[in-house]
Amino acid sequence: MLIFTLRRLSLFIFTMLLLTLLSFSLSFLFPGDAVINLSGAINATPSQLAQLNENYQTGSNIFVQYFAYLQHIINGDLGLSMASQSVISHEIMNLLPATIELSLVALLIAMFAGIPLGFIAAINHNKPSDNIILSVSMLGYSVPVFWLGLLAILIFSINLGWLPSAGQISLLFEIELVTGIQFIDILLSDSPYKWQAFSDATAHIILPACVIAVAPATIFIRLARTSMIEVLNTSYIRAASAKGLSFQQIIFRHAIRNALIKIIRHVGLQFANLVTIAMVTEVIFSWPGIGRWLIVSIDQRDYTAIQSGLLVLSCFIFVVHILTDFIYAALNPLARGIKHGSR
């Protein structure tokens, strides 16, 4: 386990180095002065600019400049937003939790809807229900998310009036920002309307989370289906059924556990996909998350925000990957021991 951890850690460090290198080079590729692109200080006075040049070591060679940049990042200094002149790291800290919340809820929905459906399809392999589930999942996978989002608003918000169409919570509720994750903040707050706020926030998250969940859910359906079919064809399942275990016992005790392990590996991969979908969805549902902020920044040519936003988002996705790897390793002892070329 130690070696496994060390390997992941070194992978993390090298990937982060590459990412920072990329975002550092972006400041030269974007139009304008590199120091201003890095710091976002568009209104800096000459003396401030001189100070910035010194901080970012622009006089020295490119390696020194890169390390100066790394130092800033490690200290949490991501510069100022060119558009609003606010501190980017603060903005990100306020916005990232909202995206995490939305993505996690969407991931849960995708898993709870996709995996059982996939299992059902596998159990009924080559029967009509299998075909229906597969074709529906194909359809769900092909629907573009921006269209689905607008359609969902049209049907569920405007025509049926069941669910709200925009934002994280009704503006009437004043919830103090503590963790940034709305549900936790509501529970922590001392508002007399806690439960009204909670149900309101729940109503607000349903539509965007479901829209995001559609595409990953279809992938989970197919993953779950394949891995279940694989498991059901293994000899230990045949042995179990020869032993006289009932069908239910076979599925719930043996098949599901083993099939799930294979899926968990893919959850991490799907998360990157899901965050991308979430970015578009945040725009449609005016969700105050980092995706919407990043898209607005691109729109405003706010280079500092684009750079830092990309860095933070990719870092976040990478951390999730590593975490799922750990979970996978914890659940499946085989994974820990795999050496190069051993499979």
């Binding site: 925009a166 009437l172 004043e174 439960w195 909670f198 729940t202």
Partner: protein, 558 residues
């Protein structure tokens, strides 16, 4: 599997719990109203701006004035001043103030005394007195007051006692009282000013406002929301709603969606009017606002310094088409800058014809038989007086093509646009004017007078001595028939000289849920949520209300 069960279990319990409302109590949403507004305010002090968005968000919510308008005739009624007296020569105006008015108590300020004469002096001296400690805070621009020449008009403001105040005017001015009742002439707290000056945080006076109005500011997030709480100790009966939230939604479709999805109770400038009227639980209201949308020339730049060219263009523009396509019929044809509903409007003002041959002849006379190329600046934002200036510019481009004038359409971001206009970089432009008070002078002076060329609100830079004389005479007389005559002559002068081509007087629209009762819009000035309440739907009374609102427009001041 056990994990899974626990997680599912927890989720269900949470959902169940979330369904539990505090029964018995009115829910928060029944005691609050959400207004989807079209933009962020620039400041929280209406003295500093003329922008409608800022006025809507601040003026009638946070503040009161000495006197106010009431009713269909726009009579002046007492507000913070319980009565007033004007001397016979019209130069001394004395106000007797109310003694029971409290300022807002908020997280950032607790008033220790009631409203008195010091606050009135503080508020008005800030505008007129360069030596006032707050005069230059926030830039020292008071566009409305500078346009009407407020500092030259007022000799001094005298405090007679704690609750009596006298304005000494340099000359009689029949619009003075009307101007004091506008959205801009608000009363701010002198005590708050002193506290800020002591703490060296003067700029907060316009960011964290303290007023006497029916609501107080609780929270403002730029580009996102403004939250107001009810001012419990308001000097009139407190507002019905405990909380008022402005949900800042700049996209038109966004506001429509939120309205249809019941996320806003009231929406500003709605689109898709049919869609709204189709819904049984929504209503659409309109008032013909006192405004004008126009196409104007920079009369200092060739070839537009030539009156023949200006006349030629005025004959070449098909206003009826503009009215149909841009305003979609939700506006009135403009014959002059003054809307027909104003009492000073002269019914004999001639209607501008659409006549291409006349236009071509005039152009030939002016020395441009083969036409020329010009820039047309179209404003980038939607305003009540012009819902889509870019499209209007395209139509005008097509119209002028017929008399061989090539039009380049130019547009900048809104603030840049206004700034460059005031510098006079343009040739021609599309813009408009919304009245701040029902007095006709509010159209004539700020739009076309010589003094307004300096303050930047007369972007035609047209300065005509006869015109200025006429509107000055109109101001000095209190005989209403004489005033009307002077204004008729002024309108005549405008239609001969054509510094601008008035296009339309639009209606201002607003949509709301039927459960929202009470008047919000007025034909001029900002909206007010003071009288707004929520009720179970009572259709008949609402329809009556809507009809009343509609009728204000036609009978307005007549």
């Amino acid at each position: 599997m056990n994990y899974l069960k626990t997680v599912i279990g927890v989720c269900f319990t949470l959902l169940l719990l979330s369904a539990c409302n505090e029964e018995g109590k009115l829910s928060l949403s029944q005691r609050s109203v959400i207004y989807c507004s079209e933009g962020s305010p620039e400041t929280f002090n209406p003295q500093l701006v003329t922008s409608g968005t800022t006025i809507d968000a601040t003026s009638n919510q946070l503040y009161d004035r000495l006197i106010a308008y009431q009713g269909e005739k726009n009579e002046l009624i007492p507000a913070l001043a319980k009565s007033w007296h004007v001397t016979r020569d019209g130069k001394k105006i004395t106000f007797y103030l109310r003694k029971d008015v409290t300022f807002h108590q908020t997280d950032y300020f607790t008033p220790s005394r009631l409203f008195n004469a010091d606050d009135v002096i503080f508020s008005f001296n800030r505008i007129i007195g360069a030596e006032h400690p707050f005069h230059l805070t926030s830039g020292g621009h008071y566009p409305f007051f500078q346009n009407i020449g407020f500092n030259k008009l007022i000799d001094k403001i005298e405090k007679i006692n704690d609750y009596t105040i006298r304005f000494h005017l340099a000359r009689a001015d029949s619009t003075f009282l009307a101007n004091l009742a506008t959205d801009f002439a608000v009363i701010i707290s002198a005590e708050y000013g002193q506290k800020l000056a002591k703490n060296n945080t003067k700029h907060n006076i316009d960011i964290m406002p303290i007023g006497t109005g029916p609501f107080k500011l609780k929270e403002y997030r730029v580009g996102s929301l403004i939250r107001f709480y009810r001012h419990e100790a308001y000097w009139q009966t407190p507002a019905q709603m405990e909380q008022l939230v402005f949900d800042i939604t700049s996209s038109n479709t966004g506001r429509l969606t939120k309205l249809l999805a019941k996320e806003c109770d009231v929406s500003s400038y709605p689109i898709a009017h049919e869609k709204i009227t189709e819904h049984t639980d929504l209503t659409l209201e309109s008032v013909t606002a006192l405004n004008v949308g126009y196409f104007a020339f920079n009369t200092t730049k060739a070839p537009f310094d030539n009156v023949l060219v200006r006349q030629a263009i005025s004959y070449a523009i098909n206003k009826n088409v503009l009215l149909e396509t841009i305003y979609q019929g939700h506006a009135e044809f403009a014959n002059s800058i003054l809307p027909n509903s104003s009492w000073a409007y002269d019914k004999n003002t001639k209607t501008q014809e659409f006549d291409l041959t006349k236009a071509q002849n005039l152009l030939a006379q002016a020395g441009y038989p083969d036409g020329f190329t010009m820039d047309l600046w179209a404003m980038p934002v939607q305003r009540p007086y012009n819902p889509n200036a870019i499209n209007m510019a395209k139509l005008i481009q097509a119209d002028l093509k017929k008399i061989n004038i090539d039009v380049n359409i130019v547009s900048y971001e809104w603030n840049t646009f206004l700034h460059r206009l005031s510098l006079g970089e343009h040739q021609t432009f599309l813009l408009g004017w919304s009245a701040d008070n029902p007095d006709p002078d509010n159209f004539f002076t700020p739009m076309l007078s010589c003094s307004a060329t300096q303050t930047g609100s007369n972007r035609t830079f047209w300065c005509n001595q006869d015109y200025d004389e006429l509107i000055q005479k109109a101001l000095k007389t209190s005989n209403i028939n004489k005033r009307k005559q002077y204004y008729a002559q002024a309108m005549d002068l405008i239609s001969n000289e054509v510094p601008l081509i008035p296009i339309a007087h639009s209606k201002r629209y607003q949509a709301r849920g039927k459960d929202i009762i009470g008047k919000i819009m007025a034909p001029f000035g900002g909206i007010s949520f003071y009288q707004v309440g929520k009720s179970t739907i009572n259709e008949s009374s609402l329809n009556e209300k809507a009809q009343q609102d509609e009728s204000i427009t036609s009978e307005d001041i007549n």
